[in-house]
């Protein structure tokens, strides 16, 4: 029974690794760092699976072989310094093996120098305010109306009938493809967190402090995320949508927006 359970768990785990498009696994995302993050995630994951197979394997063998019902006599050994030293050192080495690439990615993540553009994001209960530092464009971004109507308790609207239920906003953040975008985050009230899985960045918006992070989107498209820090009753209703446009489309967007702030 235990074995069956274990196998089914393993099966699920395997499925999670093999079929990223069924939303079982982390998304690879569309930036260099998101890909690296994904690789790190898979690395630790497989290391854990490996260790799991060994540890659980030995344990299962023991559960099978060393049962009283098989008439075995219990051994009486109770320690072995050699064994203990080995199983202290090996995990240390494994950890080191994972820590090095992790540290490398971290250093890159923190390096927000020389950006192509900067955006100041101010969180409010419960919407985002975006301000393009150089272009002078600023606007609020809130949950889109169809979701807003459907989300009311017993609204009678089937969430499945709403496109991108809870993940759609009225005005998305628009950025050009290939530009290094520096994100400066702060909050107007409580702590929020700005998160877009495909960009592999999540950073807290802390009132009175400004946090810094950055991304460079390599693929044009629409990317969705959510506020990721409990911020009150509508925490579940402040999505983030980022539209990555090609340079010319972005320029057109800027031109259309300039002077029409709301």
């Amino acid at each position: 029974m235990i074995r069956k359970l274990f196998l089914s768990v393993l099966g699920l785990v395997w499925a999670s690794a093999a079929s990223a498009d069924f939303a079982l696994n982390m998304r690879e995302g569309i930036t260099e760092l998101s890909t690296e993050t994904y690789a790190l995630h898979m690395l630790v994951f497989w290391v854990c699976v490996g260790i799991g197979v060994v540890v659980f394997g030995v344990m299962l063998v023991s559960l099978f072989l060393h049962r009283k019902s098989r008439g075995v006599k219990p051994a009486s050994f109770s320690h072995s310094t050699t064994a203990e030293v080995i199983w202290t050192i090996i995990p240390c080495l494994i950890l080191l093996f994972m820590a090095v690439p992790a540290a490398e990615t971290m250093i890159k993540l923190e390096d927000s120098r020389n950006p192509d553009m900067s955006i100041v994001i101010t969180a409010h209960q419960w919407r985002w305010h975006y301000k393009y530092q150089d272009e002078g464009i600023e606007f609020y971004s809130s949950l889109a109306l169809p979701s807003m109507q459907a989300r009311i308790k017993n609204s009678g609207v089937d969430p499945f009938s709403v496109d991108n239920y809870l993940l759609e906003v009225d005005r998305p953040l628009v950025v050009p493809r290939g530009a290094k975008v520096r994100v400066l985050l702060t909050s107007n009230d409580v702590v929020h967190a700005w998160w877009v899985p495909d960009l592999a960045i999540k950073k807290d918006a802390v009132p009175g402090m400004v946090n810094e992070t950055w991304f460079r989107a390599d693929v044009a498209g629409t990317y969705r995320g959510q506020c990721a820090e409990l911020c009150g009753k509508d925490h579940g209703y402040m999505p983030v949508v980022v539209e990555v446009l090609e340079a010319d489309a972005y320029a057109a967007w800027i031109a259309a927006r300039t002077g029409s702030n709301e």
């Binding site: 923190e110 100041v120 400066l184 702060t186 009175g208 402090m209 400004v210 810094e212």
Partner: protein
Amino acid sequence: MSHADDRYYVPHGSHWPIVGSVGLLFLMVGVSNWLNGADAGFWVMMGGVAVIVFMLVGWFGTVIGESVGGLYNAQVDKSFRMGMFWFIFSEVMFFCAFFGALFYARNMSIPWLGGASNNFFTNVLLWNSYESSWPSNGPGKIGGDYEVMGPFGLPLINTVILITSSITVTIAHHALLAGQRKILSTFLALTFLLGFVFVYLQGVEYIEAYEHLNLKLTTGIYGSTFFMLTGFHGMHVTIGAIMLTIIWLRVVKGHFTPKNHFAFEAVAWYWHFVDVVWVGLYVFVYWM
């Protein structure tokens, strides 16, 4: 060890703990309502305090009675000592939280607000004219202009007073061990008197801070850490001095022998702890 008349004393049934819990219930519900603006809460709170005082008197009275009655063997005595030691350790950790806040403010948040480390933009975008320094009431100048409480004058006198009191309590302890009751009671009295003088001077200092320096609990992080640290410390001194007074009364009544005086030692330890915390306070809050 396993002599029949040298058993570990295990009391049977006591109503004091449940009285204490009822007291705590009234106290906490009272304070909470009071803080929420219900005036009646104040009286509920005072009711709770009264029950707790009643409980403490009764509980300690029972323990003192048992102790004087010779029910406690050496092992029980050791339990009490260890208990007191770990209680003081927990108190130390309580103060650690506030010292931690002080260090965090001085070494992290204030410099960050001034643009240090990875907080360049915190300063540029939000607190543009703020230059970090300590003491500080923050970039928002919460509480308005204020003056700093310097290390000399009252605080220095208070330091001398507390250190002296630590010495007097040690002298009293030695006298107790040597059976010199007269010296014992004199120096013990001196100790708690010094304690109360300390509390009094601390009160004078607070009045000075509030009335002349505009230094208040609401004076940004400096005022917050200053008053919370010295305030909790002052509370501990007050409690310690009250306990010393009680011990002194017991000495006068003839309690404690050179061999058996756990309560005395517990209070003395507590007093040294309060003293050590003060030294930390003096260095980090007033001086550096």
